[in-house]
Amino acid sequence: MCGIVGIYFKKKKLHNKLGKYLSGMLDNMSSRGPDSAGFAIYNNDTKKFYKYSLCINDKSIINEFEVDIKNKFKDLTIKSVSDHLVIQTLSSPKTVIPYIKKKYDNILIVGYGKSIEIFKQVGNPKEIVKKFNLQNLTGSHGIGHTRMATESAITIDGSHPYSTGEDECLVHNGSLSNHNNLRRQLIKKGKTFDSFNDTEVAAGYISSNLSKNKSLDKTLKNCLTNLDGFYTFIAGTNKGFAVLRDEIACKPAVIAENNDYVAVASEFQAMAHLPNVNNAKIYEPEPGVIYTWGK
């Protein structure tokens, strides 16, 4: 099953409502995905600074880790949220990511970029939303996922969103059937994967395509040819997000759009609490058609 949600604001004055609206959407989708949840928040671009969202699987190493990276990287600040750390530094992903991956087995880099912050955990979505204090977070757009595991185990590295490129993320409702083959092909091209999950492969495929053709539209069109299986995707970038359903369209999706926001979810229930949603334009994305906001 799984539940996916996304909200994009058309007006800046609404940015302070992001956490409030997105947490309500995730709460309402916990029935579709009770075993894990996660979300990506896009807020003010930090210009020169990179943000790295890290999930710390072993708390005992935190002190040592913090001292280490403060010495190692330029102008580094640390924000701690539940079992996640968001570190901000001038050092680029090319130096930071290999360093952390090589030295710290128990730390999972869940996302990085100049705008994105990602938080994900195993457990009941309603509690996860509270743990990360999503209610009070702000930003221009956000994407979330509640998981009912099918293709890989219930672990943090099996939870969405998946981020495999700078400021990119992907949530997925469905299951892919050619992910093992595609993973092997991508590994040959130099991509690395943290899990056996199908969605991580789709995210890796999108990143690898996007770095070549620089167009989210083209990339998602390629997904229609090269990904086999069921999916409704919400793919996020620092500018906005795109929605795509496979051509059979077994997996649900509904969009509500008005002058203030665009909301996407697996079910209308997820957005029933949004202001004026009953008067918004409500429609289902058509199969195989790419919908993009915030180009």
Binding site: A249, Q269, A272
Partner: protein, 231 residues
């Protein structure tokens, strides 16, 4: 007509609301209900068994009016997947759009959708009449066995794939026809049926001759003319 009873999802949960509709009080015989704040809840008005009128003020989730018998349900909003699934009789009228599989496996009654219906509308329908004033998505009337699907707009890919004896009346164009679905000649009998459906659906802009008829070529399944009255 008795006083209208209000059922509010802000005050009651789904189980209580459905239970009060499934077990109406025969002493006061209230049969007019208004449901407020449905908020996309699933299975609203599922399993109603008696004549009554229910107006739902807002959008509903999956399987609204599923298994309905005799009740008239009016939805002032959109409906989720499986609207009127396996309905036996009665009427469901949606003011907005309906999601996938509207009227799936429904045996009887009438479903009217003022907006569009998405994919698989009338999948495996078994006798219901479905009137869609907008368009329908792909694989509509897939394996449809009996009843009528009227579409005032267009149809998506593979209309009527593997269809049995359901009749499709389409005013717009199908993107493609499914396996074993063909266009058929509109007879006088068809025109009468279309006229009735136009009246039932209160369709203003179309006349019976605007519709084309589609149905089974009867090459995919073992059709025997002696059994025609069973459909």
């Amino acid at each position: 007509m008795g006083k209208i009873e209000i059922l509010d999802f802000k005050k009651n949960n789904l189980r209580k609301i459905n239970s009060s509709l499934q077990n109406i009080n025969h002493k006061n015989n209230k049969r007019d209900f208004v449901i407020k704040n449905p908020a996309g809840e699933h299975a609203i008005c599922a399993g109603l068994k008696e004549e009554m009128s229910v107006i739902i003020k807002g959008h509903v989730g999956y399987y609204c009016g599923g298994m309905n018998q005799k009740a008239n349900i009016y939805i002032e909003g959109n409906a989720g997947t499986g609207l009127g699934e396996n309905m036996m009789s009665g009427t469901i009228h949606v003011k907005g759009n309906a999601s996938q599989s509207a009227g799936a496996t429904a045996h009887g009654g009438t479903i009217i959708i003022d907006g569009d219906a998405s994919s698989r509308c009338g999948i495996s329908m078994k006798g219901v009449d479905i009137i869609v004033k907008g368009s329908v998505g792909h694989m509509s009337a897939f394996m449809a066995q009996a009843g009528t699907l009227m579409i005032c707009g267009d149809a998506g890919d593979a209309l009527g794939d593997s269809i049995y004896e359901t009749v499709i009346y389409l005013a717009g164009k199908p993107k493609s026809l499914g396996v074993d679905c063909i266009e058929k000649k509109v007879t006088k009998n068809d025109l009468k049926k279309i006229e009735n459906l136009i009246e039932l659906g209160n369709i203003k802009k179309l006349k019976p001759h605007n519709f084309k008829k589609f149905g089974s070529a009867r090459k995919l399944y073992n059709f025997n003319i002696d059994n025609v009255s069973n459909y």
